[in-house]
């Protein structure tokens, strides 16, 4: 039997679910793909209304090739995640146009599931998962609609059936989730473009952190084993900026160091250690955030010479790591000559007024500590303001402008000025970037650190004490450090005014806040147990269950047993579908038609053997064996014994 036609109501579900799964991708693909989608859907609806015919096979082929080519042209390449997704979207749009039979419906649903999955290559957060579940449900309903009797209505019963089918698939899903081998990708997933990622970067200009202050996106989540330290101690170190160059502070890279400086120094530690687990959102950077002094034994995490944690590749997806932090007695108590020079370097000609001021202060103080206190007191006593909207200073002599004239700035302005003053006074110092504070979620005792918690502070090196943290912002606005950014900006009323719909903004509404905190707790579970379940965790779990086993053997046994069960099953199912109750003559005729089709003579659907014969005779020689065979078959198909009457 030829595959029967798609029921009309199924078409709506198919088009709807296709649009649904494609929707999140539309923000990432070029606009013309949206137009292709709309055009295809419109054309299909016109076909549904019998106002248009399906485009000819040749036209469809040309469209497919043309649009595939357009994808390559508009991305300039064929490899990579984005062009692949675009190609998939175009394919599903075109397939939608030619979907008239039930088997096309199956292809469309499978494509939809695949597109749904590609969504997770971009984002693996809880909302994406929920979106995916709804999408899968829609696709399953479409599957039911495809298999319905035409004209039957699709009601609550069918929706419940879809839910039940998904429910029945759950155990299988769990088994696959736990057991399916997490093979490292055979090819590296092409890097996503860095568009639209927020977060700290390894170059700091005045105004960079200020911009982050307007975003309530989550940067990372932390769960402490014990109690959460007070806000003022939560300095999440991310990167260290040592070098001033062309109006910006930069990180020294590994390759900038002389060979002798590359080795790690382990400080002696004292006091209680803090154990915590961090899940970072994709940052497109390779450093991790942790409280000083941090050590981690998570896979792929290493320590750097400036006592930070980092990974080898920029984080393109969420990353989870465990950290132990403990207070050092002294961080790098001995400073090498090269390092001292690096941490003191500042272009000599800049900021003459500051240089004069520093010299003046130095003359009046006794010792380094007194000088530092004096500078901090200056920040506290002079009319400095902590603000999200500092005036732009484009001058080369930034510090002169800032500390004597504008005096309105965000954390990086203070850190910048403070480091310059220290370096002018001969005290090695550097800017540290990261996050400060975070929001405690009592529901599951986690800390959520958002982009607006981004902060910049300084570290100065003191004889015998090593690197010591000094936060000049605390001198200007103690509330920022004790209570967070919002309290610090209470008077300004500029906090998060740009993100109108952010749930964080409405946390004064108790029900929203209640929901928000519970959602965050669920998101933590999702990130730590589901997204974080990597091959290492899998192997640990399997070892727990099955004892010591060889991973390779386990995978082989697993795949082997699946192939052993599913292989024969698939073969049997396709075989039973293929062998219909066709007569031998009909099979022979169909075979002959295939041969003739290869010769370029296609039989149309509904064309009778006799009509086809006249067409074939017109194209082939009369004594062609194919013609003779066709002639015989055309009679044998229908005649009882032979010939005709009279």
């Amino acid at each position: 039997m030829t595959s029967s036609l798609l029921p009309r109501q199924a078409l709506w579900w198919l088009i709807g679910s296709q649009l649904y799964v494609a929707l999140p991708h539309f923000s990432r693909v070029p606009l013309w793909i949206l137009a292709v989608y709309a055009g295809a859907a419109l054309w299909r609806l016109q076909m549904y209304r019998h106002r248009a015919d399906m485009p000819h096979k040749l036209v469809r082929l040309m469209l497919g090739l043309g649009l595939g080519g357009s994808v390559i042209v508009s991305y300039q390449t064929f490899v990579g995640l984005d062009p692949m997704v675009a190609l998939l979207l175009v394919a599903s749009a075109l397939k939608g146009v030619e979907s008239v039979r039930v088997k096309d419906g199956y292809v469309l649903v499978s494509l939809g599931l695949f597109i749904m999955t590609t969504q997770f290559l971009y984002d693996q957060q809880l909302p994406t998962m929920l979106y995916g579940v709804i999408g899968t449900l829609l696709l399953v309903i479409s599957l039911i609609a495809i298999n319905q009797r035409p004209g039957a209505s699709l009601g609550r019963r069918e929706c419940f059936l879809a839910l039940r089918m998904l429910g029945l698939a759950m155990p299988m899903m769990v088994v696959l989730f736990v057991l399916f081998p997490r093979i490292d990708p055979l090819w590296s997933v092409p890097s996503k473009t860095q568009q639209g990622t927020t977060g700290m970067s390894d170059v700091l200009r005045p105004g960079d952190v200020t911009r982050l202050g307007r975003s309530s996106e989550v940067a990372f989540r932390v769960q402490f084993d014990g109690s959460i330290p007070p806000n003022r101690e939560l300095y999440w170190r991310g990167m260290v900026l040592n070098q001033f160059d062309n109006r910006a502070w930069r990180t020294l890279e590994w390759k900038d160091h002389p060979a002798i400086e590359r080795q790690l120094e382990r400080p002696t530690l004292e006091g209680d250690s803090l154990h915590y687990h961090v899940i970072m959102e994709p940052s497109m950077q390779n450093w991790l955030y942790a409280l000083p002094y941090a050590e981690s034994d998570s896979r792929g995490v290493f320590e750097t010479w400036d006592f930070r944690l980092a990974v080898a590749k920029p984080l393109e997806s969420t990353f989870s790591y465990k950290v132990v932090s403990q207070q050092p007695t002294a961080l790098q108590p001995v400073l090498s000559q090269w390092r001292r020079e690096t941490e003191l370097a500042f272009p000599p000609g800049l900021n003459p007024r500051t240089r004069a001021w520093v010299a003046e202060q130095l003359a009046a103080v006794e010792g380094v500590d007194d000088f530092i206190l004096r500078v901090l007191r200056y920040f506290r006593e002079q009319p400095f303001f902590y603000t999200l909207e500092p005036p732009a200073i484009s001058d080369d002599d930034f510090v002169d402008q800032f500390i004597f004239n504008s005096r309105r700035g965000f954390c990086e302005h203070y850190a910048y000025s403070f480091v310059v003053i220290m370096r002018m006074a001969g005290i090695p110092s550097r800017i540290v970037g990261g996050y400060q504070g975070g929001e405690v979620n009592d529901v599951n005792n986690t800390l959520v650190v958002r982009q607006f918690d981004a902060h910049a502070w300084t570290e100065i090196w003191l004889e015998n004490r090593g690197w010591v943290r000094v936060d000049p912002t605390a001198a200007v606005s103690p509330a920022r450090i004790e209570l967070g950014l919002e309290s610090a900006l209470a008077e300004e009323e500029r906090f998060l005014t740009d993100s109108l719909l952010s749930a964080y903004r409405f946390r004064n509404v108790s029900i929203i806040n209640w929901l928000r905190l519970r959602y965050d707790a669920a998101a933590w579970r999702w990130q730590s147990f589901i997204v974080g379940f990597d091959s290492g965790e899998q192997i640990n779990l399997l070892k727990l269950w099955f004892g010591e086993i060889k991973v390779g053997w386990f995978v082989a046994a697993l795949l082997g047993s699946w192939i052993a069960i599913l292989g024969p099953l698939t073969w049997w199912m396709t075989r039973s579908r293929r062998s219909s109750d066709r007569l031998p003559t009909e099979k022979a005729f169909a075979a002959l038609c295939r041969i003739l089709a290869r010769r370029g003579i296609d039989r149309q659907i509904g064309e009778t053997p006799l009509h086809f014969l006249t067409r074939v005779e017109a194209q082939l020689a009369a004594n062609d064996p194919l013609v003779i065979e066709l002639e015989k078959l055309a009679v044998r198909l229908y005649a009882p014994v032979s010939g005709s009457i009279e």
Binding site: T2, G151, A634
Partner: protein, 305 residues
């Protein structure tokens, strides 16, 4: 036998010019023993075709012009009191002819329509408690006008089903129209020879049953029927009676073509006339019965892939 049929087609073709296919189909309908519904605009030759068929098949002919005040007794006949014999005497109505032309059938009231349709189904009429058989063969050719429907009573689907075929004749070709003009007033009906007698007609109808149906063809007809029941364009699929009618006509068509077995070409030649009036398109389908038949023909393959 085939020459007899060809002769009949040729004879009628002398009267109904340039409409060989329609004449063949109409003849096929009568040879299959079914009733014919002619649906076309006024003046297209419906009555002429009916007259020519009756005449050349040698059938007795009666005609009733249906109007809204037509009563069942005007068709069936009635008993009249004979004063001299002091008894009722039955005066047979036009239905007691071998071929009845029911002109503009949709103008009569449903009551009168059903009296006729009942007689068509039963091949007998009951009047005053007495059952009277209708002649054999008995054919009805009904005509109706597809437009100007005001003041008419459209035949319901269940009654359309009583007609084996519904035909429309359509405008003649330019060549046929030229000959029509040259011929002038003379319709040629008077000169039309009688091609066969009722006895021969009954014989032909008997031999239709000998036409063979192969398994492939039965499967094809079943697929066609299944399509009308599955495809979403149909509000109502083809009934078993409709399927039987299709096969009966295809058999006659095969016989008319001189074959003792049916090929799909036979089915396709008659399918529109037999099936179109039995199909109801679904509410959101813009086409009519003919479009549905076309859809069937291009969707259902004769031999499955």
């Amino acid at each position: 036998m085939q020459s007899l049929i060809e002769q009949t087609v040729a004879n009628i073709g002398e009267v109904v010019l340039g409409k060989e296919l329609e004449v063949r189909r109409a003849l096929c309908c009568l040879l299959s023993g079914g009733h014919l519904l002619l649906e076309d605009l006024p003046g297209m030759g419906k009555t002429t075709l009916a007259h020519a068929l009756a005449h050349s098949l040698g059938l007795s002919f009666g005609r009733v012009q249906f109007t809204s005040d037509l009563l069942p007794s005007d068709i069936l006949g009635l008993s009249v009191f004979d004063r001299e014999r002091s008894d009722f005497e039955f005066q047979a109505g036009p239905i007691f002819n071998q071929l009845l032309l029911a002109d503009e059938i949709n103008r009569a009231t449903p009551r009168t329509q059903s009296a006729l349709l009942e007689a068509m189904a039963e091949a007998q009429v009951s009047i005053d408690g007495q059952t009277r058989p209708l002649p054999n063969p008995f054919f009805v050719i009904a005509t109706q006008n597809p437009i100007h429907q005001s003041g008419t009573y459209a035949l319901p689907e269940s009654q359309l089903d009583r007609f084996l075929m519904r035909l429309s004749i359509g405008y003649p070709s330019a060549e046929a129209e030229r000959r029509l003009l040259v011929r002038g007033d003379q319709s040629g009906l008077a000169q039309l020879p009688i091609s066969m007698n009722a006895q021969q007609l009954v014989e032909i109808r008997g031999s239709v049953n000998a036409v063979a149906l192969s398994d492939s063809l039965i499967a094809y007809v079943q697929r066609l029927t299944a399509f009308t029941r599955d495809a979403p364009e149909f509000a109502m699929g083809l009934s078993p009676r409709g399927m039987l009618a299709l096969v009966a006509c295809a058999r006659t068509w095969a016989l008319m073509a001189g074959r003792d077995y049916v090929v799909p070409d036979d089915v396709q030649a008659v399918i529109e006339s037999v099936v179109a009036h039995r199909l109801v398109p679904s509410a959101d389908y813009s086409g009519d019965g003919a479009a549905l038949v076309a859809l069937m023909q291009r969707s259902v393959d004769v031999i499955p892939e």
